[in-house]
């Protein structure tokens, strides 16, 4: 019983149930969930959270929407219930389905308290007037009704339920990785229908987000991060430095700068606990280095 109470306390970390949604807890979750990375067009100097960042996928180009409280171009007219439905069920206020380029399959695992806190925080950011740019998709993908089928296959709504017997830190880590951090959205490869490939959870993608290589982050020693110590992993999440002294780049550098480095030591430890416990998968995503041949020394 005591453990369950502690667990509940951890899952609601920061957000006070009695005092209603707390924007400070909301900001913490906002960072853990990496909202800023997709909803700001940093490369072109776009306004904060006003959307317009392109997401190149094999299915087409998606443009993130404006999530500032501007009433006409942002989500200023939304009520809390609209936000909860978007995050929990992947549907807009008008009922239409969202494309899973918006990672609601992960966000659906967030707790009610965290979603409310996040909503409170989003209400507090400066509104920006910037119209959304329509996605560039092949004609057959413009029928959003198809998304109901996708959801039937690959989407199970509902908050994260702690696994008994795994301990509070492990469960907190699982929550941060699966629900908030949505790590699998890039680190788990997908099939042609955009569903995750079974048995390759967090095993990396040869041609993932923005056309780059997304590394295998399972504890496989050969192709994953099995040789990283717990301390090295925590250090990476905090600073971006890998054990070999190389630094994170691209999208992962954004994930660290805008999110992970702001998390508490306890939460980073929880993420490490969880990541080091997932099944190791041998799955090479990098091009193998050419082996030296005798010819090389022949001339």
């Amino acid at each position: 019983m005591l453990r369950r109470v502690m667990l509940l306390g951890l899952l609601c970390a920061g957000s006070s149930l009695a005092a209603g949604p707390d924007p400070v807890a909301g900001q913490y979750l906002f960072r853990a969930a990496g909202c800023e990375n997709c909803h700001t067009d940093r490369e072109h100097g776009g306004a904060w959270l006003a959307g317009g960042r392109e997401l190149l996928t094999p299915l087409g180009v998606f443009y993130s929407p404006n999530i500032t409280p501007d009433p006409d171009t942002g989500i200023g007219r939304w009520r809390e219930a609209d936000f909860l439905r978007a995050m929990r069920h992947g549907r807009g206020p008008d009922g239409r389905h969202y494309y899973p380029s918006f990672p609601y399959a992960a966000y659906t695992r967030l707790s009610d308290a965290d979603l409310r806190a996040l909503w409170a925080y989003l209400r507090s950011v400066p509104p920006v007037r910037q119209a959304n740019r329509p996605h560039e998709l092949p004609w057959y993908l413009k029928y959003r009704a198809l998304l109901a089928g996708w959801k039937l296959l690959y989407f199970k709504p509902g908050p994260y339920t702690p696994e008994p017997g795994k301990g509070a830190s492990w469960n907190r880590g699982a929550y941060l990785v699966q629900a908030a951090g949505h790590c699998g959205e890039c680190h788990t490869p997908r099939n042609r229908l955009g569903g995750f490939r079974i048995g390759l959870y967090l095993a990396g993608d040869k041609a993932g987000a923005e056309g780059g290589v997304v590394p295998n982050i399972t504890p496989d020693p050969k192709t994953g991060i099995g040789r990283w110590s717990r301390g090295e992993l925590i250090d990476y999440l905090k600073t971006g430095m890998r054990p070999d002294g190389d630094f994170a780049g691209g999208l992962m550098a954004e994930v660290i700068d805008n999110g992970l480095k702001h998390l508490s030591q306890q939460d980073l430890e929880a993420i490490a606990t969880y990541l080091q416990s997932v099944p190791p998968v041998e799955h090479a995503v990098r091009k193998p280095k050419p082996k030296p041949t005798r010819d090389e020394f022949g001339y």
Binding site: D235, G240, R242, G245, D246, F247, G249, G250, A253, R286
Partner: protein, 144 residues
């Protein structure tokens, strides 16, 4: 006749591919990759000292970083954007900003070298780390 033409074409193609500039570019890419690997090794080694995992002096690592980061942007000349590189096109298309970042890393490496023997070393190491990451964020992507 036909054969002669195709031979000529082939010769032209071979000549076009084997311009000295291309070979140089490949050498430049190999060279800068090796320099970057050396940075990584010094940073990992310095990091272990900063965190107290091992005992040692930061001075040598910091001086190596300072010396080899001087004029970093010159390792990315025009034309070295093809081949086995993870440098993004933005290195060349946003040159002014790229050079600003490279200068920042030079400055942070110099500051780290200056502080390496003192109590401020850990803070300066972290600033240099942030500078590495900041540049990789916009200008480096693992593509292969």
């Amino acid at each position: 006749m036909k054969q002669a033409i195709s031979k000529l074409l082939l010769l032209g193609l071979a000549a076009g591919l084997a311009t000295p500039a291309l070979a140089d570019d490949e050498e430049v890419i190999k060279y800068r990759k090796n320099v970057m690997k050396a940075y990584g090794a010094h940073m990992a080694a310095a990091g272990a000292i900063v965190q107290g995992k091992v005992k040692g002096s930061l001075v040598g690592h910091a001086r190596a970083m300072e010396a080899t980061t001087k004029n970093m942007a010159a390792m990315f000349p025009a034309g070295s954007d093809f081949g086995e590189t993870n440098a993004l096109d933005t290195v060349w298309s946003k040159r002014a900003d790229f050079e600003k970042r490279a200068k920042d890393t030079e400055a942070k490496a110099a500051a780290f070298a200056k502080a390496a023997g003192g109590s401020d070393a850990a803070a300066k190491f972290r600033e240099l780390s942030d500078s590495c990451k900041a540049c990789h964020k916009d200008y480096r992507k693992e593509q292969k």
